[in-house]
Amino acid sequence: MESTILNKTDDKIIQIESPILNIDKLSVSYGGDKYSIMDVSAGIQKNKITAIMGPSGCGKSTLLRAINRMHELYPDTHHKGSITLAGENIYKINPIELRRKIGMVFQRPNPFPTMSIYDNVIAAYKLNGIKLKKSEKDEIVERSLREVGLWDETKDALHKKGTFLSGGQQQRLCIARALAYKPEVILLDEPTSALDPIATAKIEDLLVNLKKNYTIILVTHNMGQAARISDHSMFMYLGELVEYGKTKKMFTTPKDERTEAYLTGKFG
């Protein structure tokens, strides 16, 4: 009896072979006994886009932030369970070091307003006091801006402030900034929710190109976006990971009725 139930849940969560990130029975609380996410277990496959979907308040951002320990910025957080990055427990790595391996892009474009486009891209080096030769800096800036398709648009204005760019360009600049340090994983928290459809399409194309070199985890409240660009999708509801599977399969034949209700627009 018990084993059949186990099998049933297992069925809704796919097993990833040799995942780059492994989330194991993770629960995160922002204080007290109330947990924002409960008992989440999932492996993340390398060089794929994994989308996290769910209605607001379902814990998708919390899960994302737990991966590079940004949730710890709130004072009373605690967690149970673990996450490993290439076999290493991230809660045993210094968060400063961890965040250099796991980059992050936020909902609203947030380039540093006092810095030029150039300095924004190498901000991770600059702010950490890592000395680079001019040629090395130039190379990093060009590589990162090319990766996000911003090089041609900005190569003549590298020393202008990043905040002069349009919203979509700013967001690509923020992605370039996160890429400059060559992280292994990039986390994106609803990166297009503040952008217009054209800018959104550019970012989506960009993410698909980037997965060759990076592992991407994307929180989105836009089901269409998850369907268009992600390889795997998670559906979260009330802090629980309800279903996790190949995106195509999940969108056509969801296994949990809550997933189905969400995908067909019954709530969320």
Binding site: L73, I96, N110, F112, P113, T114, A124, L127, G129
Partner: protein
Amino acid sequence: MNTINSISNQKLRWRVFNDKLFSIVMMTLAFISAVPLISILYQLIKKGYKQVRLSFFIEVAPDTMEAMMAKVNHEIIPGGIANGIVGTLIIVGMASLIAIPLGLTTGIYLSESSKNKMANIVRFVVDMLQGVPSIVLGVIAYIWVVKPITSGFSALAGSVALSIMMLPSIIRSTEETLKMIPPTLKEAALSLGVPYYKTVLKVLLPTGMSGISTGIILGISRIAGETAPLMLTALGSSAINLDITQPSSAIPLLVWEFYNDPNLVNLIWGASLILLLIIFLLNIVAKAISKKWKVQY
């Protein structure tokens, strides 16, 4: 077409008249509040411009005999306020050296731990400090510095009194400016693996530089004209004094001294004019900085 909603011509004219009347009253009252400043400036320039020559800036204050002789001969009183200018620069400069680092760190602390109990206490104390009469700060500096440290009146004691006075404005402007910075900027830096202290020093502070430096300059301009605390601390000096452990003059102290000497009393206009212009200049610089360094998020 005389429906209930239509306004009669007479009523309409009455409304237009009221509108005009209101604007005129507003303009007049606004003008009245500008009158004192304009008339102060007018008075100071009218009575003081003759005194303000090059020698006014490079010579020390005359003694009462020199001034009396000049008065008898109907000449312009010789000498200047160089001892006051140098004294003010040293006292205010040192006060800033004490207050800026202290104020900045306190402001950062308050904005970063805004709900903390300790922060609430500090914030309350700082607000109280703002209301402490400046003469009381003079008394405190007298007890803290004049007696035990410099064993006598000194520029340093004056600086300590003034630094306490400028602290609240630096602290509050730093706190308020930093609180306005969107939290996502801090997150952006932390997510790049930048340690917290570098995030504060290299991202938050530069972003808030315009507001913070405006607060600092306004703080300086507030203390530059202070007289009462200096009477109990720096005391005054008839010569230019560069030793911070010795009594020192300051422009507002000179104005007070001139006022008390019937032979020198005519010097108060020139001295006040220079003091006022220095403070104006500081305010203009503060405005220019807040405009020029304004950061667009």
